[in-house]
Symmetry: C2
């Protein structure tokens, strides 16, 4: 059992893990990839580096720094987090328990550039099956996605309806799905009036009542939403100690909004670590 599971191996997560480890806490970092910095090849505004360097280099430096301090880092994709007495973190490979969780996965909630998508968010397009699925009981529900995250969300939606579509939007399905119609055509548009009414592909028009987005892997916002954390404008709401409204669930970095800069993520992580340390000690005393 860990004191803290940090979800995310970028600046916010690793900065926090470094502080947490120095507080002698049991920390596990779970990361699925190198995040947004992996695509940035020229960083010159993060203090302390005389010459510009690629984002990937900074992430690698951070991981080396963490490993040198003995921090456990695993490359596993988090699929779900449950809050019972403890937090149960389920990945594609294992299940872990922790007293607290720090979400530091960056801002990766997919925003599809398809006509109509943005218009129907909250009007039939949802990011959270467990939050909104019951609204569409016995109706026609579409889910967007292609992998394990989609399959997890689909299982939840089965509780509400059997009239299910999976839209992979041109991608290869990477999981085996039964009991749902699979549409692999690229999506051309989402249409409706007040609410969404249909998905239009190259070859067809599919009348639906709701669309759930479960593309790629779940974002921090998805985990937070499902646990009942407050979300504002797609960002996780935290207090000045970086804790959400769920006791023990913290968030830092891009997923809480503010300046999308390494400097800010690193500071978030450090300050969150202090608050986590305090929280854990207040619980164990």
């Amino acid at each position: 059992m860990y004191d803290v599971i940090v979800v995310g191996g970028g600046p916010a997560g690793i900065s926090s893990a470094i502080y947490l480890k120095r507080f002698k806490l049991e920390v596990l970092v779970l990361m699925k990839d190198f995040g947004a910095l992996d695509k940035t090849d020229h960083i010159e505004n993060y203090y302390g580096f005389p010459s510009p360097l690629p984002g990937r280099q900074i992430v690698d430096n951070g991981l080396s720094q963490a490993r040198r301090l003995g921090i456990e880092i695993r490359t596993e994709e988090v699929l779900n987090i449950d809050k019972l007495e403890l937090f149960k973190v389920k990945t594609n490979q294992n299940e872990y328990e922790a007293k607290t969780v720090l979400l530091a996965t960056g801002s990766n909630r997919p925003n599809l550039r398809i006509p109509g998508f943005a218009d129907f968010i909250g009007k039939g397009i949802s990011y959270c099956a467990i939050c909104d699925g019951f609204l569409y009981r016995k109706q026609t529900i579409a889910i967007l996605g292609e992998g394990e995250f989609m399959a997890e969300e689909l299982e939840i939606l089965r509780n509400f309806t059997s009239d299910l579509y999976v839209f992979t939007n041109g991608k290869q399905l990477s999981v085996k799905i039964e009991g749902a119609k699979i549409i692999t055509d690229p999506i051309n548009s989402f249409v409706g009036d007040e609410l969404i009414k249909a998905i239009i592909t190259d070859n067809n028009k599919y009348p639906i009542n709701a669309v759930f987005v479960a593309i790629g892997t779940p974002s921090a916002t998805d985990f937070a939403l499902r646990m009942g954390a407050f979300i504002d404008n797609n960002m996780i709401v935290v207090d000045d100690k970086f804790m959400t409204n769920i006791p023990g669930l913290f968030a830092a970095g891009d997923c809480i909004g503010g300046l999308s800069q390494i400097a800010k993520a690193v500071a978030d992580g450090a300050i969150a670590a202090l608050a986590l340390n305090k929280f854990i000690h207040s619980k164990s005393s």
Copy 2:
């Protein structure tokens, strides 16, 4: 005339200057020394460095980074800042004008470890001649210090009394002083009842009514105080955009309190830069 004068060449100041320069603003950084990091020889919790490194190395890296971006950095000691239409920044070598000032000098207000010192802060011991000098009109005033900063403060105190003592507390006087009694004995204690009454040295007891502290060089808090900025518990009070109550006067890093960590100072600097940029553009439009 500069858009921003940054006072301080540490993490907060340089991080801010880097962002400001990239916003194409005219920036000048004034620094007197390498700050608190110069005395730290093993930093391993600032994100992005695989191996621990000396604080001085990080400061040097930051200065190289800033210079590579073409930022003007001068090693001059700031003696005074005045807010008129523009800010006038007086150093030991020059006088500069700027639309805005960012104080990022770290937390260097001297806290003397002499019996009685802490007890009489606010009870006769003051850090600001221009704020409190008039309270002791025609009374006996002592000033603690040995250099140019002390001489500047002494000039202000002459407006209120001619009964002046300079206590160097064992240090060499580095400026020429007239019209004040110079005491170079080390101070043993500060004594009094409700208010301070006397300074006791190895050789003597000096009855006084007030003590003004002007040791070393002025801290950001001293500048801010003199301009009428709000100070709370020795820290400069700023809003969420890092601006003080004086329009155009910003502060970041250790001098505003919070976590005394590089990570936090660097983030402060970055966020303050965004706010400075916005402030400058709102004024010039």
